[in-house]
Amino acid sequence: MSSDVVLATEKVTQGYGGPDVLRGVDLELRAGEGLALLGPNGAGKSTLLRLLAGLHKPRKGSISLRGRPFDPSDPDHRRSVGFVSHESFSYEALSAPENLRLAAKLYGLTKTESDITTLLGDLGLGWASKRPVREFSRGMGQRLSLARALLHDPPILLLDEPFSGLDPSGIESLSELLAARRRGGCAILMTSHDLSHLAPVATRLAWLHRGRALDTELDPADIPSVEAAYRERFAGAAR
């Protein structure tokens, strides 16, 4: 596995007018690595991912992409990242292939219909290609979001709860797909509340609590003890 750092944050701080959501987060993501970001609700995981995707600028601190300052206005930087959020990023009146065809045009890709059909098939949406997205279930919408993020083969994937809404077969096939991408050199940063889904993909765990990165070098092999510690910490946070 390469040790190249592809994405790094230094003292990143972010807020929305009230108390800061992120407070001086230092994090590194390396090529071929699967970093799972854990933490209770409100810890700042989604905010951090949105910053790393370039949707917002941090109030303080810096983000670097392959050693250079991350510039969201640079098309090459945007092309480097595939992002899945809680929103589907899809036009409901269009079908899945139509949404992906538009994305392909915007990313300057020369994807054929066959490429799009194959990608949708890999994510279990081949059978629904004629339906408008408004008829999709939550899980189907999530699969389409993933297809959109993977379409341009980005070297970095930022996935906010990618397994959310998926059925067991979807979780398994997505885990395999992400693990294969990671082995191919893709750097993956993802959040999830269910640690059991992370095992095939995660090579490292990091803990975010009240905007601070507390542990960033946890071993996924320790998932059962990490899970116990996570629940205790989560219960502790509630108190």
Binding site: A53, G54, L55, H56, S73, P75, D76, R78, R79, V81, F83, S85, E87, S88, F89, S90, Y91, E92, A93, L94, E98, L102, A103, K105, L106, Y107, G108, P132, R148
Partner: protein, 226 residues
């Protein structure tokens, strides 16, 4: 540069396809303008309307009030499901998003105007056929102006909780110059006055169009920063 215009074309195609599938924007705009014209027709059924002083104002009231409905809706579709964020994540010039929305707004407004003018002519007994080319040119120039301002301001308002109220509040004051100029020139056209007599109004329209189209292209990125 060709990549830029390919992006604009892809976004325009997407919006027109969405409108074709839903027909919400055009239907609401056209119905509202027809309603206004019908009300005007009833209000003026007892007396002949003056084509120089009364008809132009009534026509542009129909255009502008219906236009606000369309401007609000074309940007609202991007706020659903985070589609605007998806466009911001794509490696495209953000001004291409503005230009595409502007073009779509001009097209939809033009269709609404094409529906409105014949009905206006019939119900208010104003002859438009002799001056149709001039009227089309004035309508196009005026529409470019208020579509450019409207596209820019609908971007701001669509992100607000008060979006339904905020857009008209922001738009109407800025629309005054273009609407006044368009009304004056429409009066010239309907009364058969030569267009060169309205040079000052034409200058105002052209400058307004250029300034706000340029401003929209340059400021769109800034308007989007949350």
């Amino acid at each position: 540069m060709t990549g830029y215009f390919r992006t604009v074309a892809a976004l325009v195609g997407k919006d027109l396809l969405l409108e074709w599938r839903g027909r919400e924007t055009l239907t609401s705009m056209a119905l509202f303008s027809v309603l206004l014209v019908v009300v005007f027709g009833f209000a003026f059924q007892a007396q002949a309307i003056d084509p120089g002083s009364q008809a132009p104002g009534l026509l542009w009231i129909a255009f502008t009030f219906s236009g606000v409905l369309g401007l609000h809706r074309t940007m609202a579709v991007e706020r659903e499901n985070g589609c605007l964020k998806a466009l911001l994540l794509a490696p495209i010039e953000r001004s291409a998003i503005f230009l595409a929305k502007f073009i779509v707004n001009v097209i939809l407004l033009a269709v609404m105007e094409i529906v409105t003018v014949p009905l206006f002519s019939i119900l208010l007994r104003v002859s438009v056929l002799p001056c149709l080319p001039e009227l089309a040119l004035i309508a196009f120039a005026g529409t470019v102006g208020f579509a450019s301002v409207g596209t820019l301001l609908s971007t701001i308002s669509s992100g607000s909780r008060l979006r339904e109220v905020l857009l008209p509040i922001l738009l109407y004051p800025l629309w005054v110059p273009i609407v006044v100029a368009s009304v004056e020139l429409t009066g010239y056209a309907l009364t058969g006055r030569p267009m060169w007599e309205g040079t000052d109004w034409w200058t105002l329209i052209v400058v307004y169009d250029v300034v706000f189209l340029a401003a929209g292209t340059l400021l769109f990125d800034v308007m989007l920063e949350e």
